[in-house]
C-alpha cells in the first residue's frame, strides 16, 4: 500500500470516478449495478477463503443470509415490535420515518457485519479442522440447514418471508432509493477491495497461501494454522454479512431459502465468479463477477427457459478450458506481463532433460 504506482493510481481513480458517475450515466441500470457491486464483494470474499486459503466453502451464503435477516430485524426491531411486523396477515402497518429508516439500516448493517464474523469464528473453530472435500460438504450443509431453520422461526416471518421496511415515503424522488443502495454497495465494494488489497501485501496472505499449499508444512514451521484459518473466515463473513444486509434492503422481501440462504444461486454464483476470473488473484474475482453479471443480464432473457442450461455449459467451459480462471489463463500465456521472469535457458534445459 505504501507506494501505489502512478499507473495504478490512474487506474484506481478512473474506476472510482466511473463508479461514482455510473448511476447518473446509466440511470436505468442502477439496480443491476448495485447487484454487480454486491456480486464482486461476494466473489472477493469467497476468494479470500477458497482462493487464498484453499478451503473451498459453500457456507459463505450463511453469512450473507444472516446479514440480510439481521439488518432487516434490527431496522424494524429498533422502532417497532418485530413480532407484530412479521406476523403473517398482521393488520397493522408500521411506517418508518426518514430518520428511523436510516438510523435503522445503519445500526442494522453494523450488527450484520459483526454477528456473522463472530459466528464464523465459532463455527470455524468447530469445523476448520476438516480439510478438502470434507470441509466443502460440511459447509454446504451449513447453508441448507440455515435456510430450513430460518424458515421455521416465526419472529422473522418463517415461511411467510419478511418484508423489509419500505424506503421512506417522505423522500419523493423515485431515484433516491436506487442511488442510496448503489452508493452503499459501491462504498462496500471499495472497502472490501482496499481491505483485500491490504491483505495481499501482508504476511497474513503468505500464511494463508502456505496453508493452501501445504498445511502440514506450514504447521511444522510454527504457524498456528487454526488461528489464521479462523481469522481468514471471519474476514470473509464480515463483508458477506454487509453485502447481505444491503441486498435485503434492496430486494425488499426476504424469503428463507430463495433470497437469504440462497445456496442454489448466490452460493454457487460466488464460487463460480471467483473461479471464472481466477481464484487466488486480486483482480480475478472482480473480472469474473463483472463478466458473469453481464453474461447473466445480457443473455438470460434472450434464452428464456434455457438460461440454466447455458449456465451449465458455461461452468463446463470454465472448468475444462480455464481451470485457473481468466487471470490464470492470461498469466500462463503472458507470464512476463505479470512480472514473472522466465529464464529461457533454464526452461530449455528442462525441456531437454525431459
Amino acid at each position: 500500500m505504501e507506494k501505489v504506482k502512478q499507473k495504478d493510481l490512474i487506474l484506481y481513480s478512473g474506476l472510482i470516478i466511473l463508479g461514482l458517475a455510473a448511476p447518473y450515466l446509466f440511470s436505468a441500470f442502477k439496480v443491476q449495478l448495485t447487484y454487480l457491486c454486491v456480486l464482486i464483494v461476494l466473489a472477493m470474499t469467497w476468494n479470500l477463503q477458497g482462493g487464498e486459503m484453499g478451503y473451498n466453502t459453500f457456507g459463505n451464503i450463511l453469512f450473507y443470509g444472516l446479514g440480510m435477516y439481521l439488518t432487516a430485524s434490527v431496522q424494524v426491531g429498533m422502532f417497532f415490535p418485530l413480532a407484530e411486523w412479521t406476523e403473517s396477515g398482521g393488520e397493522k402497518t408500521f411506517v418508518h420515518t426518514t430518520a428511523q429508516y436510516f438510523q435503522g439500516i445503519g445500526v442494522g448493517l453494523l450488527v450484520s457485519a459483526i454477528v456473522p464474523a463472530v459466528i464464523a469464528g465459532a463455527i470455524g473453530y468447530a469445523i476448520l479442522g476438516l480439510r478438502g472435500h470434507y470441509f466443502a460438504i460440511c459447509t454446504l450443509g451449513l447453508g441448507i440447514a440455515a435456510g430450513e431453520i430460518a424458515g421455521g422461526i416465526e419472529i422473522i416471518g418463517a415461511g411467510q418471508g419478511f418484508t423489509t421496511p419500505p424506503f421512506p415515503a417522505e423522500i419523493v424522488d423515485t431515484e433516491a432509493r436506487g442511488k442510496f443502495f448503489y452508493f452503499l454497495s459501491f462504498a462496500l465494494l471499495i472497502g472490501t477491495f482496499v481491505f483485500v488489497k491490504y491483505i495481499y501485501g501482508s504476511r497474513f496472505r503468505l500464511i494463508l497461501n502456505a496453508i493452501r499449499d501445504n498445511e502440514d508444512k506450514a504447521e511444522a514451521m510454527g504457524i498456528q494454522t487454526m488461528k489464521y484459518k479462523i481469522v481468514g473466515w471471519m474476514c470473509s463473513a464480515f463483508f458477506c454479512g454487509l453485502a447481505g444486509g444491503i441486498m435485503g434492503g434492496l430486494i425488499g422481501y426476504i424469503d428463507s431459502t430463495d433470497v437469504a440462504f440462497d445456496g442454489r444461486e448466490m452460493g454457487v454464483f460466488m464460487v463460480l465468479m471467483a473461479i471464472l476470473g481466477g481464484k487466488g488473484t486480486l483482480w480475478g474475482p472482480v473480472i469474473g463477477a463483472t463478466l458473469f453479471h453481464f453474461f447473466k443480464e445480457g443473455l438470460w432473457t434472450l434464452i428464456l427457459g434455457w438460461q440454466y442450461v447455458a449456465l451449465g455449459v458455461l461452468i463446463v467451459v470454465i472448468v475444462v478450458y480455464f481451470p485457473e480462471g481468466l487471470m490464470g489463463w492470461l498469466r500462463e500465456k503472458y507470464p512476463e506481463r505479470f512480472g514473472e521472469v522466465i529464464d529461457d535457458k533454464d526452461r530449455k534445459a528442462q525441456v531437454e532433460l525431459k
Binding site: I10, G152, G159, T163, D255, D258
Partner: protein, 413 residues
C-alpha cells in the same frame, strides 16, 4: 501490471459503450400497442403454474386484440406483454420488475405467479407508482401493507380452506373435529394455514398434527405416517402443484385412510388426469370453476372459456389461467373508463372497478383484494376411470353432493 491495467481499461470502456448503446427505452404506449410487463416463473419450482398464468394472459390478450382492443380517447389500442422469467425466485422477480419499469419503460404491470413473488414485486411497483393487476398472489399480508397500486382479482389465501373445515364440522354434527395439517414453507401455504387456525378456533376444533413441508416438495411420508397413527377427521395439505401431487401419490401408496382430505391446487396439478381414481374424493379449494354461471362478452361463459382454452393450449384451464385472463379484462375496463394513459388516472379507475367477468365478479377492497367473489370447493369424482372435478360448495353452484366420509382404501376398487 500495466498491461493488465490496459486490458482492464479496454474491458471497462467496451462495457460502457455497450451499455450506453443499450439504453433505449420503450414507451408505455407504442404506436397502437399498450405495453404491459410481467415477470413469470417459466423455470424453477413454480414453472408449471407460471405457464398456466402466462397462457391465461396470452389467451386474453389475443381475445381482446381480436375483438377490437382497447378504446382510449377514440383510438383503438392493442395489448402487448413483455415477459421475463423470474426463475421462481423473489430476488430475481424484484430485479426484473425494476428492469421492466426502468429499462423497458413499462407503466402497467401484470402480476407474477405465487404470493412470495408478488410480495417481492409489490414494493417496486409501489415505489414507481405503477398500477399492477395481479391474479396469483393471494397471501393476506399483501393486502395489509397499505399498497395503493396493487389490485388482486382473487380472494385472499386464508379463505381457501376455511369452508372445508366448516363442512367437516357440519358433517360431524356441529362438533369440533380433529385436524391434521401439513403446509409448505411459503407465503401462500402459510396463509392458508392461518385460515385453518382461525376456522379451528371458531369451530372449537383441535389441531393434532401441524407440519411444515419443504419447498422442493417431493415427500411427506413422515406426516402421513403420523396421520395413520392418530386418525384425524380431516387432513389438510397445501403446497402448490407439487404438494397436491405428492399428497395423492403417497396417500395412495401408503393407503392412508382419512375421512376427509382437503387440498389446494388440484386443478393446476391436473390431479384427476394424472392420478385418476387415486385422487377421487379429494376436496379442493378453487378460485374458479368452469361450471359457475358468470359471463362476459369476451369469453362468454366459463364453459366457453374452458373450451376455447382447451383448443388453444390442449388442456383444461386451471383457475390460475382463468384468473390471469380476468386480470387483462380488468385492465381493459380500467383503461377505457379512465380514458387516459395517465398512471394515476388508470389507478383511480381500477379502484372503482365493479364488473362481472366469466371468472367472477370483481370489486376491489381497500387493500386491493377482490371482495366480490367467494371461494368454491370441488371434489374429484370418478365414473369408471373418467375423473372430473365437481363443485360441492357453496350450495349456489353445487352440481354434486359432497361425498363424506371417504371410503377406506380396502373398500375402494
Amino acid at each position: 501490471m500495466n498491461k493488465i491495467a490496459k486490458l482492464f481499461v479496454t474491458f471497462i470502456s467496451a462495457i460502457t459503450l455497450a451499455l450506453v448503446s443499450f439504453t433505449s427505452s420503450f414507451a408505455k404506449v407504442e404506436g397502437e400497442y399498450i405495453v404491459l410487463g410481467s415477470a413469470i416463473s417459466l423455470t424453477g419450482k413454480y414453472s408449471s403454474n407460471g405457464v398456466h398464468t402466462q397462457n391465461g394472459y396470452n389467451m386474453a390478450v389475443d381475445r381482446i386484440n381480436k375483438m377490437g382492443g382497447v378504446e382510449v380517447q377514440g383510438k383503438k389500442y392493442k395489448f402487448e406483454i413483455i415477459y421475463y422469467d423470474d426463475e421462481s425466485n423473489p430476488k430475481r422477480a424484484a430485479q426484473l420488475a425494476e428492469r421492466l419499469i426502468k429499462q423497458d419503460g413499462v407503466h402497467y404491470m401484470l402480476g407474477p405467479y405465487s404470493s412470495g413473488l408478488t410480495k417481492a414485486i409489490a414494493p417496486v411497483t409501489e415505489k414507481y407508482k405503477i398500477p399492477m393487476v395481479e391474479a396469483n398472489g393471494a397471501s393476506r399480508s399483501l393486502f395489509t401493507k397499505g399498497y395503493k397500486y396493487l389490485f388482486a382479482v382473487l380472494s385472499p389465501a386464508n379463505q381457501y380452506l376455511e369452508v372445508a373445515i366448516d363442512l367437516a364440522v357440519e358433517k360431524n354434527g356441529g362438533k369440533g373435529v380433529k385436524i391434521a395439517q401439513a403446509f409448505e414453507q411459503d407465503a401462500f401455504s402459510q396463509d392458508v394455514r392461518l385460515g385453518i387456525l382461525d376456522a379451528a378456533k371458531r369451530t372449537g376444533s383441535e389441531i393434532i398434527i401441524d407440519d411444515k413441508l419443504p419447498k422442493e416438495l417431493n415427500d411427506m411420508a413422515a406426516t402421513l405416517a403420523k396421520v395413520k397413527a392418530v386418525k384425524p377427521d380431516v387432513l389438510v395439505v397445501s403446497g402448490h402443484t407439487k404438494g397436491a401431487l405428492t399428497a395423492i401419490r403417497q396417500i395412495s401408496e401408503m393407503k392412508v385412510d382419512v375421512p376427509m382430505l382437503a387440498m389446494t391446487h388440484c386443478d393446476a396439478a391436473k390431479l384427476s388426469k394424472q392420478h385418476g381414481k387415486k385422487s377421487e374424493f379429494a376436496l379442493c379449494a378453487s378460485q374458479w370453476h368452469k361450471n359457475l354461471s358468470y359471463k362476459d362478452k369476451f369469453f362468454g361463459s366459463g364453459k366457453k372459456y374452458a373450451k376455447d382454452f382447451q383448443k388453444e393450449f390442449g388442456y383444461d384451464p386451471p383457475y390460475q389461467s382463468a384468473e390471469s385472463s380476468a386480470a387483462l379484462l380488468v385492465f381493459k375496463d380500467a383503461f377505457e373508463r379512465a380514458n387516459s394513459f395517465d398512471r394515476d388516472a388508470v389507478r383511480d379507475a381500477l379502484v372503482d372497478t365493479e364488473m362481472q367477468t366469466f371468472y367472477g365478479n370483481i370489486k376491489f377492497g381497500p387493500g386491493g383484494q377482490n371482495v366480490a367473489k367467494p371461494m368454491i370447493l370441488f371434489q374429484v369424482r370418478c365414473k369408471g376411470d373418467d375423473c372430473e372435478n365437481r363443485v360441492v360448495a357453496p350450495t349456489k353452484w353445487a352440481s354434486d353432493k359432497f361425498y363424506h366420509p371417504i371410503p377406506k382404501w380396502s373398500e375402494r376398487s
